[in-house]
């Protein structure tokens, strides 16, 4: 890894990723560094097509970093990463992709992540995406996340895409057994003529399964965002979907909520709000001495915090 690689990595993982209990760093379609430990094993799939991460049951606590960096213009990297989280294991997984594209051709990363949580497993999954570089080639990211949760398992998924990604199509699918809980928080900021589409499909199959999906997005300049959520309650369950968006300039946001209760005891809620920054918010911060521009920044940074 050279200095630029390290800088790009720091955009998606604040601390040195090699300090984690285990890690796998992928650059331009190939694994370049890996560390495992007795509780967390990382096994590469054939032909650099991805990795399998195995976390032993009853693992008390551990972290896995699996960042991806792309610095080659014109590269299309497709990766399949599978996470097998043993019974009652407790783990933090930090993933993400940084693309530096200084060329004319598009650089693209499609990460397909599948999570298999055994009974009682607990996962915090953090995903950060960003694009850098001065070339006119696009930076394209299409993450797909599939989550299969067994009885009593718990997962927090925290995703952020805050700068420089020209085109993204995110798909998140989940199926929850009884007493499983899935909490998703997604933050997206688009500018210029960037496009971001995000789709959630959650099936609540087991009794007392619950999900809370929060999407906070800011669309500025001429950018476009689309939020689709599709939550199905097949039994006694609970879901709360919240889509909040700020639009600026010619930014456009479309929210398409769908909640489908197939059982009398399914309790599903959807809230969506799209609008510009409220005038009173600007006035309040200006009355504390901030200029209009500074006030806008504080409001947006807080909103996406």
């Amino acid at each position: 890894m050279n200095k630029e690689d390290k800088e790009l990595l720091s955009e998606i993982i604040e601390d040195d990723p090699t300090k984690a209990d285990s890690y796998n760093i992928r650059k331009n379609g190939k694994g370049i560094d890996r560390k495992v430990n007795p509780n967390i094993d990382i096994v590469p799939k054939e032909e650099n097509s991805g990795i399998d991460v195995y976390v032993k049951e009853d693992t008390l606590f551990g972290t896995v970093n699996i960042p991806v960096i792309i610095t080659e213009s014109g590269l299309k990297d497709v990766v399949y990463n599978d996470f097998h989280i043993g019974k009652n294991a407790n783990i933090i997984i930090v993933a993400g992709c940084g693309i530096t594209n200084n060329g004319h051709k598009d650089a693209r990363h499609d990460g397909i992540h599948r999570f298999y949580l055994e009974e009682g497993a607990r996962v915090k999954y953090i995903e950060r995406h960003c694009g850098l570089g001065v070339g006119d080639g696009k930076k394209v990211l299409n993450p797909v996340t599939e989550i299969y949760m067994k009885k009593g398992s718990y997962m927090v998924m925290d995703t952020t895409q805050i700068k420089g990604v020209d085109d993204t199509n995110r798909v998140t699918k989940a199926a929850l057994d009884s007493d499983a809980t899935l909490v998703i928080t997604e933050k997206i900021l688009t500018s210029n003529d960037q496009v971001a589409k995000t789709e959630f499909e959650v099936e609540l199959n087991g009794e007392n399964a619950s999900t809370h999906v929060t999407s906070r997005s800011v669309a500025t300049d001429d950018s476009y965002q689309e939020f689709i959520s599709n939550i199905t309650g097949n039994t006694k369950c609970y879901a709360h979907v919240e889509c909040d968006a700020i639009i600026k300039g010619n930014g456009k946001v479309k929210a398409i909520p769908e909640i489908y209760a197939k059982n009398i005891d399914a309790n599903l809620i959807h809230e969506a709000a799209i609008g510009k920054i409220a005038g009173e918010q600007l006035m309040k911060l200006m009355s504390l001495g901030l200029s209009e521009k500074e006030a806008e920044e504080v409001i947006i940074n807080g909103f996406l915090k």
């Binding site: 009173e280 309040k284 200006m286 504390l288 001495g289 807080g302």
Partner: protein, 236 residues
């Protein structure tokens, strides 16, 4: 320290402020009172720069601030507590107090500010300034954000609005403390007798004009003295 010269403000053919002339002196505690729709809040907003007068001048510490923006006035030392506290997603009470003081205060200092408005600080400092807080809590945080700035002129627009009786009782104590200890000027819009009681001077407004400025007894005499029209009605 503040002078309003012939301020007029008209919207949709209605004179909301009609040739207002007012001088506020340093270190005094003023309360503006009067019926709903008499122009009290508009007058306060015009001082802060939230509304612009159609005509007239605003002089603050010898400087004409009529054309200055809200943030420019804030930097000159005017503070304003909104009647409806503004809510923010993702901004904590601590963030707001840091912005208010314009410096990196410690959580301990933030707690000290919150204690002054009767909030058990540690419970609140990391909470977001959003609908999860009650009306009374939001109101006190709003007041704290103005006090934290230590402005030369602090304006409070109906601090009692939208809060329960118990919270209000505590707030009265906060204003008593300000009146007794602050060397700065305070302007409170209020209908509450408890707030009127602590005023150095009361400004009575009606139909966009100032009817009377004086101490409580004088102003109350003015409010409650029998009106001609009532006499006429009763003798018919």
């Amino acid at each position: 320290m503040l002078e309003l010269k012939d301020i007029c403000f008209e919207r949709q053919g209605k004179k909301i402020l009609d040739h207002i002339n007012l001088v506020l002196e340093e270190s005094k505690f003023y309360v503006i009172t009067g019926p709903n729709g008499s122009g009290k809040s508009t007058l306060a907003k015009i001082i802060m720069g939230i509304e612009k007068p159609d005509t007239g001048k605003i002089i603050f510490n010898g400087e004409d601030i009529t054309e200055k923006t809200i943030d420019e006035r804030a930097k000159l030392g005017i503070g304003f507590a909104f009647q409806q506290p503004v809510q923010f997603k993702g901004i904590t009470v601590y963030d707001l107090l840091k912005l208010a003081t314009s410096k990196e205060i410690s959580k301990h200092e933030a707690c000290d500010i919150l204690s002054k408005v009767g909030l058990c600080a540690l419970e609140y400092v990391d909470r977001e300034v959003n609908k999860s807080l009650s009306g009374g809590e939001l109101k006190r945080i709003e007041i704290a954000s103005v006090m934290a700035r230590k402005p030369y002129l602090a304006i409070f627009d109906e601090p009692e609005a939208g809060i329960d009786l118990w919270s209000f009782q505590n707030l009265t104590e906060v204003f008593k403390e300000i009146q007794a200890t602050s060397s700065k000027t305070t302007l409170v819009i209020s209908h509450q007798e408890r707030i009127l009681n602590i005023a150095d001077e009361i400004i009575l407004m009606n139909s966009g004009t100032i009817q009377k400025i004086g101490q409580k007894e004088e102003v109350f005499d003015h409010i409650f003295k029998p009106k001609k029209c009532c006499k006429e009605v009763s003798t018919r």
